[in-house]
Symmetry: C2
Subunit: 458 residues, 2 copies
């Protein structure tokens, strides 16, 4: 399921532009936390900054990279060679001996190699790859350079150090760090034309070597436009403090507000994020984490089988832990760019089997004290509710090509809520009863889904 | 879920052409079997020929109809008015007092009303609406008239009476009933331009009033091309004998060779077709049939609960009947053009609940004689296999947007096979054991699906 195996032979398509990544700086402010490595090699949740930049571009189809290096280029080149191999992309290292002069001089040193439109990014920015998609979409029919901007300045950490942008409609009319009046903040993500190199050259002829100086030249020709990113995630990593905040913000960006239930959002995610933060540093892959969560669930189920109050409480806590770890596979997959169709599928199937084991465990524990056939009818009743609630949803997606109508009740019958209910039941020594209630609610939820579906089509 | 409610206000879209339906003839050869009604009103499996023609067009989006009437027009007009209301389409009756002269005179009588390309069909032809889709696709970039032709002459009933077509590539070079050498057979389905009316006029000026005479004029200008229909279903209804064969052929066309398992194809379908033939004449709708099949399944489940060999055999036969009736909802829906997303969804959910009831029934019957908790563990084992086999498939469809890899084993774990296995088990008084084996195979099938899915993406 690793992306490397999915595209073993990189092919350059005509439609997706290459990316130019500026990675020449020293980043001395981070020296204290990254062991003196060049800034692009600073680790952020299991991947280096440069690796994140490349993988984010690869998510939108980019397979051709020009990486400008300067500071400790001798260390960077073998790293880039290794990365090229491991990520199955083409990486052309571009050395800029004058990197200390400014990042404009770094950008222009790639000019001889790039003849078509290209993405331009700073290797020290974390961002949601969806922003690149916005740029690519906006760039299909234009010869202007485009800059992704964030119009929510209040979201920006260290606004003083951020580059501000003034707009007239979507035309950029001013740019710079010291602007007092501005409309948005520069995210450091561009879709550029060759005109950028021309503009940089004009600036350099004036003795100005920063990227901003080149952009000012672009503005003079009104050939520079903004694309707003809405609430999508981005973060500029400059200092140890911003590195810490960036990690937190990146972890927070992993929640799925549309999909997560109450328990997942308010209890499971805050814990699973911390676990994921540790797991990304290990070689365990997302499918391994799915299996781990499944195994923990089985352990909980077996503990329920043992009966007795102490085991029951422990079992309840263990299945809640399993439910928390169940969120980590997706988080780690997104953090390490290892999401795959198989992974999502595998995880969902394992969840249903874990549910089955938990129902059997809870029911067996109850049956030890109440040896009636009705105990098992209850078990089947609850289990059918659990599996069918999910099944009914999936079938809806297939038939209608959209998610079924949501709402409060839909969230109440999700897996996070049901495991939490059984855990609470276990704590008061009523796990079987809690399971029956959760099963009952699931069947009601299925009925409601059918009624809503029928109304929609009738 | 009826189509009438889905499109209560008909709207004419610019992209879907109107349809011209020739329904003026007497059809005297059918008088013996349709009670002396005009031919268009001959009932075929619950709907009149004309209703079938209109609904087939509506399936591909046609909402505007010109129906040429002649024989007993006074009886046809109120029928068309009622049909217009009931089917939520626009129907313009076009009277042709000269209908006895020939069907070319009927076609040309609609000329004043139709100014853009149009579908032309004979109301006495049954056909797969997919053929219309072929014509519409082929007709997007042409000013030629198009005729759907069947190049498998051996499939055609009463070839002597069929209209034959000679081809040069896809250009039609000759047409007529008496041709000895020919490449394909005319299916009576056209996509026409106004040039057809011009051609018919030329023919009429020569005193020729048949549609074929007009087509000969088209051929002269090489403005007439063929679209081959492959193995899609069509049938020309002329005589009592062909009416009987047409019904059979239409029923046979309902099988789903890609989806049906062994038991469904060779045992269930031949029986369900006969039941559907009866059900289409009743007002019961497809969702009602789904509920009926579910109710029969529940009856079988309850009979299993009673224990004892006689009840077990009867229960086995009843659940097999339920499985057979389970095929009728889709058949009736397709026969009466009542297919709906909700119907397919509802049916699938009910099937899983029926499976649950059957597992509970079989297990309860077994538990009466063997009161061990293990009986219920086996029940849950089998039930999880049954539901999860289907669940795993659905999840695959959602993730990969295609069906999972099929094969012999995939067919073995389908519902038709599993119910059949339990029925066979019931006959030899081993329904519980048969259920366990079917459950075991289902789990194996799920594992194989996961392995195949992993290989596909790895």
């Amino acid at each position: 399921m690793h992306m490397t195996t999915e595209a073993a032979v990189p092919t350059i398509t005509g439609t997706v532009p290459p990316a130019l990544i500026l990675a020449a700086g020293e980043g001395h402010r981070l020296n204290g936390v990254n062991g003196g490595s060049p800034k692009p090699l600073t680790m952020v949740l299991g991947l280096t900054l440069l690796e994140r930049a490349i993988l984010s571009c690869k998510e939108v189809g980019v397979l051709e990279f020009y990486v400008v290096i300067g500071y400790r280029a001798n260390k960077m080149i073998p790293y880039l060679r290794a990365l090229e191999q491991r990520l199955s992309v083409l990486i052309k290292p571009v050395e800029n001996p004058n990197w200390r002069k400014g990042n404009g001089s770094s950008a222009i040193s790639a000019a001889p190699y790039i003849t078509r439109p290209f993405l331009l990014l700073m290797c020290d920015h974390l961002f949601d790859p969806a922003i690149l998609r916005l740029l690519l979409t906006a760039g299909t029919n234009t010869t202007d350079c485009l800059l992704a901007v964030d119009s929510h300045a209040d979201r920006v950490f260290d606004l003083d150090d951020a580059t501000k942008v003034q707009l007239d409609g979507d035309v950029i009319t001013g740019i710079g760090k010291e602007r007092v009046s501005f409309d948005a903040v520069d995210t450091g993500l561009f879709l550029c034309q060759h005109s950028l190199f021309d503009a940089l050259e004009i600036a350099q002829d004036k003795g100005q070597y920063s990227l901003s100086a080149g952009l000012v030249e672009l503005i003079r020709n009104r050939g520079f436009r903004a694309v707003t990113i809405g609430t999508r995630f981005w973060f500029d990593v400059d200092s140890p403090k911003s590195l810490g905040l960036a990690k937190k913000a990146l972890l927070r960006s992993l929640s799925k507000p549309d999909e997560d239930g109450f328990v997942a959002r308010h209890l499971n995610r805050p814990v699973s994020r911390r676990i994921s933060e540790i797991l990304v540093r290990t070689p365990i892959n997302p499918n391994g984490i799915s299996l781990l969560s499944f195994a923990v669930g089985i352990v909980g189920a077996v503990m329920f089988c043992l009966g007795g109050y102490i085991w029951t409480i422990l079992a309840g806590l263990v299945i809640q832990l399993s439910s928390i770890v169940d969120g980590c596979d997706g988080e780690v997959a997104r953090l390490k760019f290892q999401s795959s169709k198989f992974g999502g599928w595998f995880d969902t199937i394992l969840d249903r089997y874990a549910d089955t084991a938990i129902v059997v465990g809870v029911s067996f524990g109850y049956w030890l004290a109440h040896p009636h056939a009705a105990v098992w009818l209850g078990a089947i009743f609850a289990l059918t509710g659990f599996i069918m609630a999910s099944y009914t949803k999936k079938e809806f997606v297939i038939r209608y090509q959209s998610n079924p109508p949501g709402g409060l009740f839909a969230r109440l019958i999700k897996r996070d809520a049901r495991i939490f209910a059984i855990m609470l039941g276990a704590i008061v020594n009523l796990p079987y009863e809690a399971m029956l209630i959760a099963g009952f609610l699931s069947h009601i939820g299925i009925g409601l889904m059918l009624i809503k579906g029928h109304r929609r089509t009738a």
